[in-house]
């Protein structure tokens, strides 16, 4: 049997996809199997395909994606914990023709930044909010998040989340969908190739709605956290499908009336 070498098969006609030029060459700090890398990649593809690099201002959060600016070749502002939507509000109002998005985790968007999230959506700011929900604080080492499932163990709910003392997980997408200011609210995931394609479609819709000044777009991505959940990447995806998806069902929650 002859040995197949990479250079023999890596040819333009064999490429299924290539790295977007919006992604930098920096090695990502994300853990193996984490959804962040995939979401960054899809976002980069959309920015490239929509020719938005020179018009995009992104706002990164505090959390695992605090260093998002290392990976995306766009202008980025790094916000204080939870405050990304306030920054985005000002950017969009001062530069109305730019594509403005926030990228936030569950601690950032659904705990410390709840007021900014609600009021930005309520004002109907023409921005996109990307919400990575993995039900845990990843960066600080696996503490309970507002979205941690009932009974789920974390370093600060070591006996499992107890509703009586810790409250129930909060469904932010459903909450912001109630506000007239949001035009598009959807829940996606990137655990399968089909999911990745659906996310890309959702992002492209959000770009279109922002261009048309329709209001706030909110895309939740239910994601895994192999390190925080203390599972292998494969186990974490299975656990996510069996436990997260029933509580946070995927699909559109709100779409513009005429779409």
């Amino acid at each position: 049997m002859t040995e197949v070498k990479a250079k023999d098969i890596v040819k333009p006609e064999n490429l299924a996809y290539k790295k977007s030029k919006i992604l930098t060459d920096n090695v990502m700090h994300y853990c193996p199997g984490c959804g962040h890398g995939t979401v960054h990649r899809v976002l980069a593809e959309v920015i490239e395909e929509e020719d938005l690099q020179s018009k995009t201002v992104g706002i990164s959060p505090v959390g695992c994606s605090v260093l998002m600016y290392n990976y995306l070749d766009i202008d980025i502002q790094e916000a204080a914990h939870g405050r990304a939507p306030a920054l985005a509000t000002a950017v969009k109002r001062l530069l109305p023709d730019r594509f403005v998005f926030t990228y936030q985790g569950d601690g950032d968007l659904a705990a410390i930044g709840t007021a900014e999230t609600i009021h930005t959506c309520n004002r109907g700011e023409n921005i996109l909010m990307i919400f990575i929900n993995n039900g845990i604080y990843g960066m600080t080492g696996g503490q309970m998040a507002p979205t941690t499932l009932i009974g789920m163990k974390s370093s600060t709910s070591p006996y499992g989340r107890d509703v009586a003392t810790m409250g129930s997980p909060i469904k932010m997408a459903d909450i912001v969908a109630l506000l007239p200011g949001t035009c598009y609210v959807t829940r996606q995931s990137v655990n399968t190739a089909a999911g990745v394609r659906k996310l890309k479609k959702a992002l492209k819709k959000a770009v279109e709605y922002q261009r048309d000044k329709r209001g706030t777009c909110f895309i939740e991505i239910v994601s895994n956290c192999p390190s925080g959940w203390k599972m292998t990447p494969v186990e974490s995806n299975k656990w996510m499908e069996e436990n997260m998806f029933p509580f946070y069902p995927l699909g559109d929650i709100k779409v513009p009336k005429d779409s």
Binding site: T56, I74, D75, I76, Q77, A79, A80, A86, T89, A90
Partner: protein
């Protein structure tokens, strides 16, 4: 266009001056005694004329972070509040200082601590001049003593903020904010359309991406950054110290006072001199950088300095550091929204002179 003469409240004059200075955005939240700024701007609706954005945020926290986002675009943006609200903004202010962004923050000070009172005070001096939030940083702090200065300091603040890429604070108080005086207003300036090279406005093919952040996980790089800030504050101390002197030529004693207290001291000087006490006044206009050098010089000339503040004694510490033991320094102050009368100040000067 000629300068325009109007009778206005300090808060209103500041708001009008912001429009005329060509500000790009104001983000605020109501709190007494400075709500007139937001009210004036929403009524004036400059979005329709100059294009200036005015937005009532959901909190002081959101407002200062809107300022952060706007400043990161290289825009002339500002917020205003009063003491409890300024405490809430401290997180945003330290990020802005850490990201080296220009902006204007106005504090129309009221008595504290806590909810305190809505009457004037000068009890936020430490917070304003020593950083206020976490980490090693300083704001450049201007202290107006009249409605005219409430107006004039807006443009000056923006100029200094952009010159040093540093947040600037106008430290006013409830008296200056609420009182009415005549004020000369400058003609309308056009808003700048310049795109600053460091601003996050969308990355064109012609430059690297711009990143606005206050984060550096590498301690060696972070220390270098801290040293850069130290150098910046040193440059401010060399170039930006502003103060005013009244009757210091023959003074045997010196009042040191800013804002409303400086106005009271001017009257107290008249009363004291009528009684044969040769007293003068140094009014710091910049509280950071502080007029240390001049106070040190005067420390060799006078027999004593009395810091008059509406606080338990905050600026007096900087006066002591400035004179470094050359002369006696003491403090007289009222608190909780109480304002000293000129007579009261003279009586306390006499007590100070007796020792």
């Amino acid at each position: 266009m000629e300068k325009e003469l109007k009778l206005m409240k300090g808060n209103e004059a500041l708001a009008e001056a912001a429009i005329r200075a060509g500000a790009d955005g104001y983000f605020g939240y109501p709190i007494t005694p400075q709500s007139e700024i937001l009210e004036y701007l929403t009524e004036a609706n400059p979005q329709a004329t100059t294009g200036m954005v005015v937005l009532q945020a959901e909190s002081e926290v959101a407002a200062i972070n809107m300022v952060y986002g706007g400043a990161a675009c290289g825009k002339k943006v500002m917020t205003s509040s009063s003491s409890p609200g300024i405490s809430l903004k401290q997180e945003g202010i330290t990020y802005i200082a850490g990201a080296e962004l220009p902006c204007l923050i106005v504090n129309v000070v009221r008595g504290g601590p806590g909810l305190g009172t809505i009457q004037p005070a000068q009890s936020d001096y430490f917070q304003a001049t020593k950083g206020g939030g976490h980490g090693d940083y300083h704001l450049l702090v201007l202290a107006p003593a009249s409605v005219q200065e409430m107006a004039d300091f807006v443009e000056l603040s923006f100029d200094l903020a952009f010159k040093y890429r540093n947040p600037v604070m106008i430290l006013s108080d409830g008296a200056i904010g609420q009182m009415m005086e005549k004020v000369y207003l400058k003609p309308q300036k056009k808003r700048s359309e310049e795109i600053l090279p460091w601003a996050t406005t969308g990355k064109p093919a012609t430059r690297e991406r711009n990143i606005i952040t206050s984060l550096d996980l590498d301690p060696e790089r972070q220390e270098k950054f801290n040293l850069k800030l130290v150098a910046k504050y040193r440059e401010m101390a060399e170039k930006e110290v502003r103060f005013e002197e009244f009757q210091t030529d023959d003074a045997e004693y010196l009042f040191v006072a800013y804002g409303t207290s400086a106005r009271i001291c001017q009257k107290a000087i008249q009363l004291a001199r009528a009684q044969g006490i040769k007293v003068g006044l140094l009014r710091p206009i910049t509280l950071f950088p502080f007029p240390k050098k001049r106070l040190n010089e005067l420390g060799s000339k006078v027999k004593g300095m009395l810091a008059v503040e509406m606080s338990a004694g905050q600026m007096v510490e900087d006066v002591m550091l400035s004179v470094n033991g050359k002369t006696r320094v003491s403090h007289y102050g009222r608190m909780g929204g109480m304002i000293a009368t000129p007579e009261e100040v003279v009586e306390n000067l006499k007590i100070f002179i007796k020792g």
